[in-house]
Symmetry: C2
Subunit: 177 residues, 2 copies
């Protein structure tokens, strides 16, 4: 007998009287604001001192990170991910390129493009910065367990918009989203 597909919310609605929807209460949603703030604050903060020593800031890290995640990323795509103007990115990217961490190559299909790649030293640096964040993340994952991690991923994915999800998917399956 095939089971009828039921959404997670619908499943919860079937649990003991009304209790199933507690997680949608205002207080729960407000707590999420706090959770996101503190987690993001501390996650990004973990890399700050290292970035600072190198004369970089978070903006540089973000650029470095996404170029590393998507080798051959087009400038316009990076703009779309970071949600900043090209002038703003130019300053940040210019420094990364000047420092030999990022390189640009003309696109094969469109020679106007300046596809972005991390250099070997760029990858090395990105890895170093990643290590600063990794331990915090791994510990949180281990403490929470795989089921919780799956839930974490599902919810965050749902908070991100369509474009964000497309890039998340692409990171798993290389190719333009």
């Amino acid at each position: 007998m095939p089971e009828t597909p039921v959404s997670p919310a619908a499943q919860a609605a079937h649990s003991p009287a009304g209790a199933g929807l507690l997680y949608l209460r205002e207080e729960e949603l407000r707590a999420a604001q706090d959770l996101l703030f503190f987690a993001y604050r501390d996650f990004t903060g973990a890399a700050d001192s290292m970035l600072e020593e190198l004369g970089f800031g978070r903006a540089h890290h973000r650029a470095l990170h996404f170029v590393g995640r998507h080798p051959g990323l087009a400038v316009s795509d990076l703009l779309g991910i970071l949600r900043i103007t090209k002038q703003s990115l130019a300053r940040v990217l210019g420094l990364l390129i000047a420092k030999g961490l990022v390189e640009q190559r003309p696109g094969r299909d469109d020679r106007r493009q300046r596809l972005l790649y991390l250099t070997a030293s760029g990858r090395a640096l990105e890895r170093q910065v990643f290590e600063r964040q990794r331990e915090r993340l791994a510990r949180a994952y281990r403490d929470a367990g795989p089921q919780a991690v799956e839930g974490f991923r599902r919810v965050l994915r749902g908070i991100a918009n369509e474009q964000g999800r497309a890039w998340l998917d692409r990171a798993e399956r290389p190719g333009r989203p």
Copy 2:
């Protein structure tokens, strides 16, 4: 027969050959970087246009939010939450106070303190901004379901540091953390 307490990570380790630790692989951790970025980007972005119309920015929103979450918050505590200097906060808070959204009252136990409260209009505004973020969050929660939400909370809580967790706990049980 009482069950022996087993940590979530240990439970996972007992699952089919090695698969239990997949969620701690580097690629999984890297994906978390992306997830956090996109979710936070879009979550905070949801309120930006409203804030801008009012002549405020994210810094103002953060201050407004936490004063609302913790009525009677001391200035030094807000500094500790936001991780900014008092000079920086002074500008932001000064505007909120000037606009009649926040008020200060001397502490009862320590008259040097300037305890912070949202005014009625401050609360009204904070609620309006919250509504901008709420729907996105609620939809993500509904889609993911209560189990996933619990997981989300557990992991984010684990990413935040001790101080963050203390404030998270206090938001649930009013009182200084």
